[in-house]
């Protein structure tokens, strides 16, 4: 059967499932729309949170980031999972106890300040909107490659599907679709990994295979990988090559940013009790860990496979011939991916072979001069194709490729829906009901939430079709803002009774502005090229890259809030009581009837 037909069956089948769930889980009230009626089982919520959280970046990009950098990019693994510890211990149970519908509503009430709520809404919308652009373009790319439709058609199709279940189902529809999407994406990610791990190490669990024996050579897999990449002049895979301070700071920023992303936090509003919120964070990490423990194995094994494909006679033998690439079925994936513009090679020295090596390495330059090579001939290998092309690289059956197509699209769609929900509830609940029309009826608010969702989808689709040039950098922006503005103020709202309204607003604004300015100074003002004064290779402060700045922004937020609160008035008694009540689980059930 033709591969495109298989892909259409898998992707079409998954879409039919999502639509079916949309019809079944319609939202009848604002409580359904914002918090799925607070009736979601903690394990179900954990699964939905995992799909909500794991985006196109986790599914498509992360293994590639690890594969081509090695140990230094373990930051993503630790950062994106360690944030759940902060979420589970510092935020989720208390925000569930508070029992409202949006993150900004907590900030507004706890700091008795409509201004604080408005600032929080602005941070939330910027962070979520920048994040959603990447998801929409991801949907377009996955469609373009797997279904051979152009990416515009693919993106519009994706938008229609999200519209169907998010507008009608709200949080309720999104929750149950995310559960289905999680199942699709986790099988899509782990099945090829299990196959590849079996091929290379004989161990069916990729995370164990990574530390197992490479059967073809009889050496430990990582030792073998270190050997062949250093043979070609690349950095040793398992070694630490970058600077330690930046690695620490980047990991911390990812952790704090993860805990401050509103679309993740609001998932914990959907469980019935405070105790469930605690369990649910654990379950979320169980489901996330299934992918995150597999990702480093996928990265290392793919790097090994790819390197060996280019050096079929060993790294000291002859490189692969172009004739082989064009005719051998094991290399079929290369011409296919070349068409997407994400993979490219060029026979620079005209010897009919493709030499893949690090031409910046001095040792290799000597060997190249001797052998008559004219530089690295694998001219383009985009990190993002690693996971998507992996089943083809490892010669896996056609249905696995179809499954990966459906998984990539599921990962992007589920995150997009969560973000759009965060945006629409902020608009309808915080702006319309909270600010402009406080007397709006339940029915009116539900309608406005649906309209806000439809508008958000339209805006996201437009931005996905016409991505601003900075789409790739916006993820750093979203994390920076979440870490510097939202996380600290939530934590202070729970753990301090002395931070007051002025302190919170000043803290949020200074964290937000300093972080924004630092990112713009390095990436260009509003990401316009050539307007930057510094680069991440040579940053303004010490070695702090703009992508690692979120943690510094958070410290500024904490410090400013503390000193401003100290020099202005005390917190009113009723707010102190509010904090005391948020700290104990008893009484959370009554929040449902508000």
């Amino acid at each position: 059967m033709d591969q495109t037909v298989i892909n259409i069956i898998f992707v079409g089948g998954s879409f039919a499932l999502y639509i079916g769930i949309a019809i079944w889980a319609r939202a009848g009230s604002t409580s359904d729309f914002y918090a799925a009626g607070r009736g979601v089982h903690p394990i179900t919520n954990g699964m939905a949170t995992a799909a909500d959280w794991m985006s196109a970046a986790s599914f498509i990009s992360m293994a590639g980031l690890i594969a081509f950098t090695g140990y230094d990019n373990s930051t993503y693994l630790m950062g994106w999972t360690g944030g759940y510890v902060l979420l589970a211990l510092l935020l989720a149970p208390y925000l569930r106890k508070f029992g409202k519908y949006t993150v900004s509503e907590f900030i507004g009430d706890r700091f008795y300040s409509p201004t604080a709520r408005l600032v929080a809404v602005i941070c939330l919308i910027i962070a979520s909107l920048t994040y959603v652009i990447g998801q929409m373009t991801g949907v377009g790319v996955a469609f373009g490659r797997f279904l051979e439709v152009d990416s515009t058609t693919g993106l519009l199709l994706g938008a229609v599907i999200v519209f169907a279940y998010a507008v009608f189902g709200g949080m309720k529809g999104v929750t149950y679709t995310q559960v289905a999407q999680y199942v699709v994406l986790i099988f899509a990610y782990t099945i090829p990994a299990v196959f590849i791990s079996l091929q290379l190490t004989g161990n069916p669990i990729p995370g164990l295979g990574l530390f197992g024996e490479h059967q073809a050579s009889g050496e430990p897999l990582l030792q073998r990988l270190d050997q062949i990449v250093t043979d070609l002049g690349f950095n040793e895979y398992t070694a630490h090559n970058g600077d330690t301070f930046n690695m620490l700071l980047f990991t911390l920023s990812l952790m704090i940013g993860t805990a401050g992303l509103p679309h993740v936090i609001m998932r914990f509003f959907t469980v019935p009790r405070v105790a469930d919120a605690r369990w649910s964070a654990g379950w979320a990490l169980v489901f996330i860990a299934l992918l995150y423990l597999t990702a480093p194995a996928v990265g290392a094994m793919a790097r090994l496979n790819i390197t060996e494909l280019f050096w079929p006679n060993g790294t000291d033998g002859e490189a692969v011939a172009i004739e082989t690439i064009e005719n051998d079925p094991a290399y079929d994936w290369m011409p296919t991916w070349q068409q997407t513009g994400l993979l490219g090679w060029e026979d620079k020295n005209g010897d009919g072979r493709i030499q893949y090596y690090n031409d910046a390495s001095e040792g290799m330059q000597a060997r190249a001069a001797e052998a008559g090579w004219s530089g690295n001939e694998l001219t383009n290998f985009n990190n993002d194709i690693l996971v998507l092309a992996n089943p083809e690289i490892a010669n896996l059956p056609g249905w696995v490729i179809g499954l990966v197509a459906a998984g990539g699209i599921a990962a992007a769609l589920s995150t997009a829906a969560g973000l759009l929900l965060a945006i629409s509830s902020a608009v309808s609940h915080d702006l319309i009901k909270g600010r402009f029309a406080p007397n709006i009826s339940e029915k009116g608010e539900l309608l406005s939430a649906r309209i806000a969702m439809a508008v958000a989808i339209a805006v996201a689709t437009y931005l996905g079709l016409n991505p601003p040039g900075f789409a790739a950098q916006t993820v750093a922006l979203a994390f920076g803002l979440a870490a510097a503005s939202i996380f600290p103020v939530l934590m202070m709202g729970i753990f301090s009774t002395t931070i007051n309204n002025r302190g919170a607003v000043a803290g949020m604004l200074s964290g937000l502005i300093v972080t924004l300015v630092y990112i713009f100074l390095h990436k260009g003002w509003f990401f316009i090229p050539d307007t930057n004064s510094f680069t991440d290779a040579d940053p303004l402060l010490y070695t702090i890259k703009s992508t690692s700045f979120g943690a510094v922004g958070a410290v500024i937020n904490f410090a400013v809030a503390y000193f401003v609160s100290k020099s202005t008035g005390p917190v009113p008694q009723d707010i102190r009581e509010l904090v005391e009540s948020v700290r104990v689980p008893r009484g959370a059930g009554t929040a449902q009837s508000h």
């Binding site: 999972t81 197992g212 073998r224 689980p585 008893r586």
Partner: protein
């Protein structure tokens, strides 16, 4: 409103307030211990202390590499479940659990 319901049940009993303070203190203590472990496995073994434990080999690499790519995630999981279990029993002990 949630907080009023909450306070009407707790009002007028000093024992509850003292217990409330002890409960919160126990919670904060548990959080601090958990976060110390959280930092040791990731920032510690995974990054800073990696050279110190590099003598301990784990399948083709060393303990620090294992913590950075597998171990820290596994410890995070244990931490969250341990915290949930411990807090749920503290809730009952201090009588602040959900009915």
């Amino acid at each position: 409103m949630v907080d009023h319901t909450q306070h009407s049940s707790a009002r007028g009993s000093t024992r509850v307030t003292t217990d409330g303070k002890a409960y919160w203190k126990a919670n904060v203590r548990l959080i601090i211990i958990s976060l110390i472990i959280w930092a040791i496995v990731s920032f510690g073994f995974g990054i800073l202390l990696r050279p110190l434990v590099s003598g301990i080999g784990v399948g083709g690499s060393d303990l620090g590499f294992w913590f950075a790519q597998q171990g820290s995630i596994l410890v995070f999981l244990v931490l969250i479940f341990f915290y949930a279990w411990r807090m749920n029993s503290l809730d009952r002990k201090f009588g602040v659990d959900e009915e």
